[in-house]
């Protein structure tokens, strides 16, 4: 009798556990949707008032007059991101090839933890470093060769700091892609008399091109959303930068910098939530595309 009762209890417990877990999993799937909807809901007032194209292409940012032009901020984000990618892409590509194709296991063992540490350093600390090292360097050493005056708090500083920040993400995805490539491909090329480098150029890189592109897109979306570090070194002037030594004002910095006053000016909070929504949508789209490419690669190669 007791045994039967115990088994009923077990069956019931099984059912309960399963359903609670299913429930949590389904809720978690709705999560991105909830974030999107609530940000849209908050930015709806300003979208009712002005068309999205006016907002995106307008370059006057005067919250007190009700003018919200996002163009300078979008350009700021694009400039900073472009500089970051230009700096980190060649470094990561060369270094990832070295680490996965040439390096002795002992070197890998030494370098991988360092990349992990680089990934773990908080954005604020990168910002502090930017202020301590990069900003003075640009202001004192670099900028005088090109322009009359720069405070150093500039688009270039943001780009450099951001460039270093995205290295760990980019390099680890690169290495994963190279490692996933079947060894047979390399061996076939090498056995035909190709050198190591020729094999890399003609086989490894060509074969992993879609994956590399996906990794770069991931890195771009990471750079788009990075807030604190760029906020600290970019200078935050709401104008389209004319040169890399001019200050700029990327979107995330705009959100972070104005949260304090946004409730007191009409439409201000709505405008800031719209910029959060913009970031969210762009980054989700970028991430979905690149993750799908990476999943396909993993499936095709891992046989």
């Amino acid at each position: 009798m007791n045994q039967i009762r115990y088994n009923t209890f077990r069956r019931f417990r099984e059912l309960a556990v399963r359903n609670v877990m299913l429930f949590l999993t389904s809720v978690s799937l709705l999560f991105a949707v909830i974030i999107g909807i609530s940000l849209y809901y908050k930015s709806a007032p300003i979208l009712d008032q002005q068309s999205i194209w006016n907002l995106l292409s307008g370059s006057s940012w005067k919250p007190l007059k009700g003018e919200f032009g996002f163009f300078p901020f979008i350009m700021g984000t694009l400039w900073v991101t472009a500089i970051a990618i230009v700096i980190s892409l060649p470094l990561c590509l060369l270094s990832a090839i070295y680490l996965s194709e040439y390096a002795h296991p002992r070197i890998k063992k030494a370098v991988y933890p360092m990349i992990d540490v680089l990934a773990g350093i908080p954005p604020v600390v990168y910002g502090v470093w930017g202020i301590l090292v990069v900003v003075p360097f640009i202001s004192n050493d670099l900028a005088p060769h090109f322009v009359e005056f720069s405070t150093g708090y500039s688009t270039l500083s943001g780009g450099i700091v951001l460039g270093i920040m995205i290295i760990p993400l980019m390099i680890s995805v690169f290495i994963e892609i190279f490692d996933a490539l079947p060894a047979g491909l390399r061996e076939a090329s090498l056995s035909l008399g190709a050198t190591n480098w020729q094999t890399i150029k003609k086989v490894v890189l060509r074969k992993s091109l879609p994956g590399l592109a996906a990794a770069v897109v991931l890195a771009i979306s990471r750079a788009f959303g990075e807030t604190m570090a760029v906020l600290m070194v970019c200078g935050n002037v709401s104008e389209v930068p004319k040169s890399v030594f001019d200050p700029s004002y990327p979107l995330p910095a705009l959100i972070a910098n104005n949260y304090g006053e946004m409730m007191s000016v009409p439409m201000y909070d709505s405008a800031l939530m719209l910029s959060a929504l913009l970031l969210f949508v762009i980054i989700v789209v970028f991430n979905v595309i690149s993750r799908l490419i990476l999943i396909r690669i993993e499936r095709n190669f891992a046989l």
């Binding site: 099984e14 999993t25 978690s28 908050k42 470094l91 060369l94 600390v125 301590l132 990075e226 993750r291």
Partner: protein, 279 residues
Amino acid sequence: MRKLEEKIFKVLMIAATLAIVISLFMILVGILKRGLPAMSWDMVSKIPGGGFYIGKEGGLLNAIVGSLYIVIGSISLGLIFSLPIVLYLNLYLPEKSRLAQFTRLSFDVLFGIPSIVYGAFGFTLMVYLGLRSSLFAGILTVTILIIPILIRSIDEVMRRVPKEMKDAALSLGATRSEIIKPILRQVAPGIVTAILLSVGRGIGDAASVLFTAGYTDSIPTSLSQPVATLPLAIFFQLSSPIAEVQDRAYAAALILTLIVLLLSVAARFYSRKFSKNKI
């Protein structure tokens, strides 16, 4: 010719790797050089006293304790949500299930969403629930931020639990919920690593708590009070024009960096045999 090209590129590759390693050391040295002179016992043992923000006595204990509160709260809350999800993916769903693949994809995407967006979302949530910026709102936001990290990294370990282990238990008549415990025991080091990773992320993130946790000079005694955090302490004190106050930002940056380094070493130690190089 072929040899020359090979050589040139090999030199370039080594140079690139060195450049990355050197930039890491430049960052650590830069922080150490400026942070060490500003460090003192007072920094880690006292809360800000009167006149702290014009350079008088006091320390950063409020921010250190605040960050710990936030991280401990959000890790516990995060585990409550993420463990059942990971278990469901690995224990209940078949290997090639569409739902599992879709869930994994969706957490990969959530992982990519920047913390400022989570901060903005946390803020709207907070306003919607009628909360003020507080320890509770901060914990909630950081929890949302770290759940994708927890799930991704625990899932990675749990996927590698041998299928035979599960099959053996089931064939002896155990229900699926009864093999949760042994499986958890099996992946415990992986869970520890995941926790350490998310502590590192949660303790260093400023953009998410900027909107939600507020800032205060005292140590909060209830969930509804605002709380100071280390990254925000750095950020706010660095923008002060007074040199002594800026020094504290450097000291705080040093403390934060040391914490993160320690976590990273510990995570390495635990995950050595469980995880490949993945960030």
